[in-house]
C-alpha cells in the first residue's frame, strides 16, 4: 500500500528568550528527530504524556509549524521547503481536527459558513451547489440541516466536534490529523465520535494520525501505535503487538498504568525539561532497567520484530 505521508528525522525547536534584548537561552526540543510513515487507509495512534511533543508533531507534519530540520514526504513528494502557494493541493489532502471543539469554530460564524469556507477557499462548487454540499456534510457527520444557520455557542461539545469533522471532510482529504479529538468530551460522547471517525474511515478510505493520551482510545481506533517520550518516538508497532508485547520500559510502565493491569510500575521522578533533555537515552533518569551505557550513549531505533521498532539498549 502506498504511503500517504512519510517523515524523516523531523525536528521542531522553539527558542526560549528572556530579558531586555531577547537573549536566547536555549531551545525547547518539542520534536527531536522523529521518523515514521502512514499508509493509505491506516490509523497511526500516537500516545505519550502531556508535553512530550505529540501535538507539535501533528502540527509540524501539516506544515502549520515550520520544521527546523528533517523531511516531510507527502505521497512521495518532498514538501518540507514548499512555500504557501505551492501547498494548495497538500492543504486539500491533509486536514486537522482539534481537541477543544469550542475553540475550533469561529464564534462569529454560523456552522454553515464555517464548513462552506473550506469549499470557498478551494473553489469547489457554485453558491447553491455549496449549500447542498454543506448539507450533505452535516448529514455525513450525523447532524441535520437545521444546524446550518446556528452559531457554535448554541451547540454541545459533541455537536461542535462533529462540525469540526465536517469542515475537515469538506475538501475530501486523504489524511486527517486528529489532535486529541475526544479528550475534551464526555465519555458517552467520546464513543459516538470515535465510532463516527471509524465509520468515516472505511467509508471515505481515510488515514488518521490519531493523537491521544488515553490508551484505551488508542487501542480502539489504531492499526499501529507509536509511543512518544520527550520529543522522540521510543516504540512503534502494530496495535496488538504493542499492547501484548511492549518492550520499551516506558511503554511497559505506561501500559501497566491502565486500570485492571497487574504488577503496576509507578514511574519515579519528573519528566526532564525538554529544554535540557538528559544525555544518552532520554528515559534513563526514570528507567528501572538502566544500563551503564544508557547514561551516555543514545540508543538507535531498532527493528526487533516484524514492524516492531524500539529505541532501547536492552534490545
Amino acid at each position: 500500500m502506498a504511503k500517504i505521508i512519510e517523515i524523516e528525522n523531523l525536528r521542531k525547536y522553539y527558542p526560549v528568550t528572556r530579558g531586555f534584548l531577547s537573549k536566547k537561552r536555549g531551545d525547547v526540543k518539542a520534536v527531536d528527530g522523529v521518523s515514521f510513515f502512514i499508509q493509505e487507509g491506516e490509523t497511526l495512534g500516537l500516545a505519550g504524556e502531556s508535553g512530550c511533543g505529540k501535538s507539535t508533531l501533528g502540527r509540524t507534519i501539516l506544515k502549520l509549524e515550520e520544521p527546523d530540520s528533517g523531511n516531510i514526504l507527502w505521497r512521495g513528494r518532498d514538501i518540507t521547503k514548499s512555500r504557501k502557494n505551492q501547498l494548495k493541493e497538500f492543504r486539500k489532502d491533509c486536514q486537522i481536527i482539534f481537541q477543544d471543539p469550542k475553540s475550533s469554530l469561529d464564534p462569529r460564524m454560523t456552522v454553515g459558513n464555517s464548513i462552506e469556507e473550506a469549499l470557498i477557499i478551494h473553489d469547489i462548487g457554485a453558491r447553491e451547489e455549496r449549500t447542498r454540499m454543506v448539507g450533505e456534510l452535516l448529514l455525513k457527520v450525523g447532524l441535520t440541516l437545521d444546524y446550518m444557520p446556528r452559531y457554535p455557542h448554541e451547540l454541545s461539545g459533541g455537536q461542535q466536534q462533529r462540525i469540526g469533522i465536517a469542515r475537515a471532510l469538506a475538501v475530501n482529504p486523504g489524511l486527517i490529523v486528529a489532535d486529541e479529538p475526544v479528550s475534551a468530551l464526555d465519555v458517552s460522547v467520546q464513543a459516538q465520535i470515535l465510532n463516527l471517525l471509524m465509520e468515516l474511515k472505511t467509508q471515505l478510505k481515510l488515514s488518521y494520525l490519531f493523537i491521544a493520551h488515553n490508551l484505551w482510545v488508542i487501542r480502539y481506533i489504531s492499526d499501529r501505535v507509536a509511543i512518544m517520550y520527550l520529543g522522540k518516538i521510543v516504540e512503534l508497532a502494530d496495535k496488538d503487538e504493542l499492547f501484548e508485547n511492549p518492550l520499551h520500559p516506558y511503554t511497559v510502565a505506561l501500559l501497566s498504568s491502565l486500570p485492571g493491569s497487574r504488577n503496576r510500575k509507578v514511574l519515579r521522578g519528573e519528566v526532564p525539561s525538554p529544554m535540557n533533555p538528559p544525555d544518552g537515552c532520554r528515559f534513563h533518569t526514570r528507567c528501572e532497567k538502566k544500563l551503564d551505557r544508557c547514561v551516555s550513549i543514545e540508543p538507535e531505533m531498532k527493528e526487533v520484530g516484524k514492524g516492531h521498532f524500539v529505541m532501547c539498549h536492552l534490545y
Binding site: 502549520l64 501547498l87 492543504r91 486537522i96 475550533s104 477557499i121 478551494h122 452559531y151
Partner: protein, 302 residues
C-alpha cells in the same frame, strides 16, 4: 444578526447607556433636520444683538440718539430667539444646531479614520509578528509620545485651518489606542484553533484577517470607537477655542471662542455651547461604557 439582537437586549438593561443613546439620537436628528426650521445662523441683525435666552433678562447699555449718549435698557428673551443671540444679533439656537453638525461630523469621521488605521496596523502587527510587529509597535510608541494637541496646532499652523484638515489630523494621530487594543486581541486570537483550522485549509492571510480576526475584535472596536468620539469632538472644540478652528463653520468651539470676549455682557453665548459639549461628551461616554458591559461575557444584567 441574532448576536446583535442579543447585545441590544443586554444594553437595554443599562439606564445610563440608554439615556446617552437617546441624547445622541436626539442630537443627530436635530443636526439633520434642525436647519430646515431655524433661521440662518449667519443672519446678522444689530437691532437684536445680545438677546438673552427665554426666561432671562439682562441690563445692557445702548447708544440712544434721542438722549445723545448711552442708556441702560433691560432686555428680555424672545420666542423668536429662544436661546438668545450673539453680539451681532445672530440666532444662537441655529448656530448651536449648525455646531452639532460640525461636532458630529468631526467625531464620526475622525474616529472612523483612526479606527480603520489602528485596526489595520494592530491586526497586521500581531498576525505577522516578528520584525513587522517590532517596527509597527515602535512607530506606535513614537506616535503616542507626541503631545497630541501641540501636533494638531502645528499642522493647522502650517497648512491652514479647514474642517477637512482638522478631521484628517485628528484621525491620523488618534489611532494608537486602537492599534494596541486590536494587536493584543489578535495575539490571543491567532493561536486559537479556528484560525489554525483556516490555515490548514489553505486560507490566505487576508481571508484570515478579514473573516476571522477582525470580526472577533469588532465588539472591542465598537466600544473603543464610542469612547473615542468625545475625544475627537473635544479636540476640534479645543482647536476652535484657541482660534485655530475653521473660521467658515460655526462649530461649538468657535462659538465658545467668540463668546468669551462678551462673558460680562452676554454669558449665555459661551455657556450654551459649553453645555452642549458637556452633554454630548458624557452621552458618548455613557453609551460606550454601556456597550462595554453589554459585550462583556462576564457582565450580567437581570
Amino acid at each position: 444578526m441574532k448576536l446583535a439582537a442579543y447585545y441590544l437586549e443586554r444594553l437595554k438593561g443599562n439606564k445610563t447607556a440608554i439615556i446617552g443613546l437617546a441624547f445622541i439620537i436626539f442630537l443627530v436628528l436635530t443636526a439633520l433636520i434642525g436647519p430646515f426650521f431655524t433661521v440662518s445662523p449667519t443672519q446678522v441683525n444689530f437691532s437684536e444683538k445680545n438677546l438673552p435666552p427665554i426666561g432671562f433678562s439682562s441690563e445692557q447699555s445702548e447708544y440712544s440718539a434721542k438722549v445723545g449718549g448711552l442708556v441702560m435698557t433691560n432686555m428680555h428673551g424672545t420666542w423668536k430667539h429662544p436661546l438668545g443671540t450673539d453680539g451681532m444679533g445672530r440666532d444662537l439656537l441655529s448656530q448651536l444646531i449648525s455646531g452639532a453638525r460640525v461636532s458630529l461630523l468631526v467625531g464620526l469621521l475622525a474616529t472612523g479614520l483612526a479606527i480603520v488605521i489602528g485596526a489595520i496596523i494592530g491586526v497586521s502587527s500581531a498576525y505577522f509578528g516578528g520584525i513587522a510587529d517590532s517596527i509597527l509597535m515602535r512607530f506606535t510608541d513614537i506616535m503616542i509620545t507626541f503631545p497630541f494637541l501641540l501636533l494638531l496646532i502645528l499642522i493647522v499652523y502650517m497648512f491652514g485651518s479647514s474642517l477637512a484638515l482638522i478631521i484628517l489630523s485628528i484621525g491620523l494621530t488618534g489611532w494608537t489606542g486602537t492599534a494596541r487594543l486590536v494587536r493584543s486581541e489578535t495575539l490571543s486570537l491567532r493561536t486559537r484553533d479556528f484560525v489554525i483550522a483556516s490555515k490548514a485549509l489553505g486560507a490566505s492571510d487576508l481571508r484570515i484577517i478579514f473573516y476571522h480576526l477582525l470580526p472577533n475584535t469588532i465588539s472591542s472596536i465598537i466600544v473603543l470607537a464610542t469612547l473615542s468620539i468625545p475625544g475627537a469632538i473635544l479636540a476640534e472644540a479645543a482647536l476652535s477655542f484657541i482660534g485655530l478652528g475653521d473660521p467658515q463653520v460655526a462649530s461649538w468651539g468657535n462659538i465658545l471662542n467668540a463668546g468669551q470676549n462678551d462673558l460680562q455682557a452676554a454669558w449665555w453665548i459661551a455657556v450654551e455651547p459649553g453645555i452642549m459639549l458637556f452633554f454630548t461628551v458624557i452621552s458618548f461616554n455613557f453609551l460606550g461604557e454601556g456597550l462595554r458591559d453589554a459585550f462583556d461575557p462576564k457582565g450580567d444584567y437581570n
